[in-house]
């Protein structure tokens, strides 16, 4: 079945939004700090006005046509696990770089360390609905100038799945991240054609690509590492509060970034990473459980598709700081709405408190929520066999539906979701089993899964190469 079965925007509204973004790019333009890139864009027909580059429709159309050629991406991990991302797929990734974690033993919030990055990577290996892990955490025991390099290294070392690399925002680190990608891919292979993962790079909102990001892009995009363009304005603070206004701006920022990437290396696959979000406007604190997150992500899925991009969107998000009903409804709404609207890649595993606190238990719970969402996205099969007139006929003639081969057949082929973690029985059973809430079950599951995950040592030559890269990065960046 078609992946996009929910229309948040009509085709006409999509056209209007695209036109609004084109107008923003044509009339307001984008501040691009790199003079060389401005010059190259000028050569491709853009008007350069000081540090602002104003884009013409011709170039944007050319960029969009090129994006469409690169919208089937297969990521292959070192262990051979493949994740295909196409206009029809729905794959998942974890949140990245969360600054705090709820300790699995004490239940107290604390700063995460490298061991947490490793443990959460190993846990994510075992989550069946999680396709690509991020470095869920920001390790506090790693010096800041090499954190992104270290996160990338840990991901490649411990993940059995292709990785969704960290957000890269410094050119110094980008250089070593590229080296790590090349080392783990086996050196000679093209990262654009046979990628083992991707990274995210963010422009600044509104409408700015600072020098460090330009330089970061030059490293990453030139190397062909598939890149998610993460445009993340806060509605009402760094973008209009109106949802349509925020979307028009995000769409403009992503198209501008894609144009710059096109100039650098047109072969690098790009993802449409709308990260539009909102705040509690009374306090100014950004809160990620608002239903607008899901709604604008759904609209962004449609916009991405209209411009030929694969989409990479917010999914599981909550404001809740604990494992309560609010945590459940916020995560579910914000993941389900974009999933139904055709999102190709959705984020959010493992986070609470508006992406500011991570949790081992939440990773396991989010895997269950995604199981339900993937089941919904699979929809309903309607044909003569599923309609099963014979079963109904047999039942009205005194037959037992439960024992009918039709029932057994559909049960076995997964017509009904079978909870793996969630409670699936009645009150009396719940009492018998100790009145456990899902957090308790998740905790038990985390321990089991971590036991199951085996860590294999890297081949000796790769180990040596990786260590050399990290040493070189430390030597250069920690001066």
């Amino acid at each position: 079945m078609a992946r996009s079965i929910l229309k948040v925007l009509t085709d006409q509204e999509i056209a209007q939004l695209n036109e609004a973004s084109f107008k923003i790019l044509r009339e307001l333009g984008v501040q691009i700090d790199d003079e060389g890139l401005r010059k190259e864009l000028a050569e491709r027909g853009c008007d350069v006005d000081g540090d602002r580059v104003k884009f013409k429709a011709d170039l944007l159309e050319e960029v969009i046509a090129n994006v469409k050629k690169h919208n089937h991406v297969t990521l292959t991990s070192r262990d051979g696990i493949k994740v295909e991302i196409t206009p029809h797929s729905l794959v998942t990734h974890a949140t990245g770089g969360i600054p705090e974690i709820i300790d699995l033993e004490t239940g107290q919030k604390r700063k995460p360390v490298v061991d947490d990055v490793i443990a959460t990577m190993r846990l994510m290996n075992q989550l069946e609905n999680l396709d690509t892990p991020c470095s869920l955490l920001y390790p506090d025991d790693v010096p800041i100038p090499i954190t992104q390099v270290k996160q990338t290294e840990l991901m490649f070392r411990y993940s059995k799945k292709p990785i969704y690399g960290p957000g890269i925002s410094s050119p110094g680190e980008a250089k070593y991240v590229v080296k790590l990608f090349q080392a783990f891919a086996g050196g000679s292979e093209s990262l654009a054609e046979n990628p083992i993962g991707i990274v995210g790079v963010s422009p600044e909102s509104p409408l700015k690509i600072p020098q460090v990001i330009c330089d970061t892009m030059k490293h990453i995009i030139s190397a062909g590492i598939p890149t998610s363009i993460l445009s993340a304005p806060v509605g009402g603070m760094s973008g209009p509060l109106s949802l349509a206004g925020g979307l028009a701006q995000v769409n403009a920022e992503i198209l501008a970034f894609a144009s710059v990437a096109y100039v650098i290396n047109p072969e690098t696959p790009l993802f449409y990473g709308s990260r539009l979000f909102y705040a509690n406007m009374k306090t100014g604190s950004t809160i990620m459980g608002l239903p607008e997150i899901g709604l604008v992500s759904a609209a962004a899925a449609q916009l991405a598709s209209s411009n030929g991009f694969l989409s990479d969107l917010y999914g599981l998000c909550c404001t809740s700081c604990t494992f309560d009903g609010q945590n459940g409804y916020e995560n579910a709404i914000n993941a389900l709405v974009p999933a139904l609207a055709g999102a190709n890649w959705i984020s959010g595993y493992g986070s609470m408190a508006s992406l500011m606190v991570a949790s081992y238990e939440q990773l396991a719970i989010d895997d269950e929520i995604m199981g339900l969402i993937k089941r919904v996205a699979n929809g309903v099969t309607v044909n003569e066999d599923t309609i099963g007139l014979d079963v109904i006929s047999s039942a009205v003639n005194g037959g037992m539906i439960l024992a009918h081969p039709h029932t057994v057949k559909y049960l076995r082929c997964g017509e009904l979701f079978i909870p793996k973690l969630g409670f699936d029985s009645v009150w009396s059973d719940w009492e018998k089993k100790g009145q456990k809430e899902i957090k308790t079950l998740a905790r038990e599951r985390v321990h089991e899964l971590l036991k199951q995950d085996e860590v294999k040592a890297l081949p000796e030559d790769l180990e040596q190469e990786v260590n050399e890269i990290i040493d070189a990065a430390a030597a250069e960046l920690l001066k």
């Binding site: 307001l28 206004g245 700081c321 609010q326 099963g388 039942a395 039709h406 969630g422």
Partner: protein
């Protein structure tokens, strides 16, 4: 300012697949038919061109077509509560109601699960008066301290006495139906169309209309009280396990119900209530938090739209027995799916544990979930003003988004959801405020709302009180012999 646009539309099935289910249901009705116990009714259906074979009535597609065409003429009505609150029901509205007759409740004081009683019906009804997202209450819990024979009637009486909103009653026998009509008639306006509520009636699955049900239907439908047709088979036990099969059967049962109603009174508005649900097939226990509940409801909403019926569907269902993350995600998914698919009437406020345990706190939490779902399913303005080109241009010149009139305007107009119960700040604030989960916040809210309802409640007029009491005495005298 921002004009509303068409809401998001979810189509789990395309039009051709919906048509395919319709055709399958017609075949079920024509080839298998329905079992009807009442010989007179069988004769009436035979007179309308149905084939009667023993106790089965095989319904021809032409009659079904006529019935559907007629039902479309009666899919718009207004309910008016005792206190004058109105609820419009038609294909463009979405209305919420609570779960019904749940046998156990989590005691508000002790937190222990116990049998429900009439005081719980009263307290939950009063709490529901104060929930702004809930349009109509059912008797959320089953008053176990009252006799079974008059229980449904008593539930309706308590709703009438304590609800300030229009009510959702149920009837499964003719005596209950008769006195329900009397109770409803107390609120008949001069034009005879002032409806205080509607009544849900269920046939048996698969495809069976027992005499008690058709007798109850005859009384309620003849009186012109809108009826929600509730077909509730359990997939794999009383309907095929395959969702499409279950839906084809449910659809056949609902169309048959509409045909029978047509015989009694073609003017009575009917609601399309597919309530297909599923079990944990290892244990046979029905569990309502499965996503298939929402999937079946979403397709049910599409089927209702296809025919032009107002739909009445499962919404916030959960298997979870506590206020945990599971209760949140199950309810959200199962409510959001039919909502996005064009449902008109959505159920589920107040239930936990697959609708077997009710909870005061859950009623309040469900009010918040419903608000979130409603916002997620609401369209947003896409036009020049909303694009906010000027605000962006001003920001690029050093202006502040936050202080711009455009921001203030959209903020005031509700562009971004403002949680009413849910936590809406950051971790440090959560710690400062006592690390409360939503159950704890809901608990405080329950107390506030019950107090508020006490202050606002107006006693029944003594005249009305007397009339209700008289009807109930007559009912008891007849039904509790």
């Amino acid at each position: 300012m921002t004009e509303a646009r068409a809401n998001p539309v979810l189509k789990l099935l395309d039009d051709q697949k919906i048509e395919q289910i319709h055709v399958a249901s017609l075949r079920i009705l024509q080839e298998l038919g329905i079992k009807v116990d009442d010989a007179d009714l069988r004769q009436q259906l035979s007179d309308l061109g149905c084939d009667v074979v023993g106790d089965r009535v095989k319904i021809n597609p032409d009659l079904v077509g006529d019935v559907i065409a007629n039902a479309k003429k009666h899919n718009r009505f207004t309910l008016t509560s005792r206190t004058g609150k109105k609820v419009e029901m038609n294909l463009e509205t979405v209305v919420s109601h609570s779960s019904n007759a749940i046998p156990d409740i989590i005691d508000f004081e002790t937190g222990e699960c116990r049998r429900t009683n009439q005081d719980d019906v009263i307290a939950t009804t009063r709490l529901m008066n104060q929930l702004d997202e809930l349009d109509m209450p059912c008797a959320l819990v089953y008053p176990n301290d009252l006799p079974a024979e008059t229980n449904q009637l008593k539930q309706a009486e308590l709703l009438i006495r304590y609800s300030t909103k229009p009510i959702y009653a149920t009837a499964s026998d003719p005596n209950t139906a008769k006195y329900l009509v009397e109770l409803f008639n107390l609120f008949d306006g001069t034009d005879g169309r002032e409806l205080i509520g509607l009544v849900g009636i269920s046939p048996e699955s698969p495809l069976y209309f027992p005499k008690a049900i058709t007798d109850a239907m005859k009384i309620i439908i003849s009186a012109g009280i809108p009826v929600s047709m509730l077909s509730a088979p359990l997939g794999g036990l009383s309907a095929p396990l395959s969702i499409a099969g279950g839906l084809a059967q449910v659809n056949a049962e609902l169309l048959a119900f509409a045909v029978v109603s047509y015989v009694f009174n073609p003017e009575t508005p009917l609601l399309y209530g597919p309530r297909l649900f599923f079990a944990n097939m290892k244990t046979g226990c029905s569990i309502l938090g499965l996503p298939e509940t929402g999937i079946a409801s979403a397709v049910g909403a599409q089927m209702a739209l296809y025919y032009g019926f107002v739909s009445d569907l499962y919404g916030m269902c959960s298997t979870s027995c506590t206020y945990d993350t599971q209760s949140g995600y199950e309810k959200a998914i199962n409510c959001l799916l039919p909502f996005l698919s064009g449902a008109n009437y959505i159920s589920g406020f107040g239930g936990l544990a697959s609708l077997m345990v009710a909870s005061y706190e859950q009623l309040v939490i469900d009010n918040e979930i419903y608000a979130n779902v409603r916002k997620a399913a609401k369209g947003f303005a896409v036009n020049e003003d909303a694009f906010g080109f000027d605000v962006l241009a001003s920001a690029l010149k050093g202006g502040m988004f936050l202080a711009h009139p455009h921001t203030v305007k959209y903020l005031r107009n509700g562009e971004v959801f403002v949680p009413d119960l849910g936590f809406d700040s950051v971790w440090s604030d959560w710690v400062k405020k006592g690390k409360k989960d939503i159950q704890a916040v809901a608990r405080e809210r329950v107390n506030e709302l019950l107090k508020k309802d006490e202050q606002e409640s107006e006693p029944l007029s003594s005249e009305l009180d007397k009339e209700i009491t008289k009807i109930m005495e007559n009912a008891a005298a007849e039904m509790l012999k």
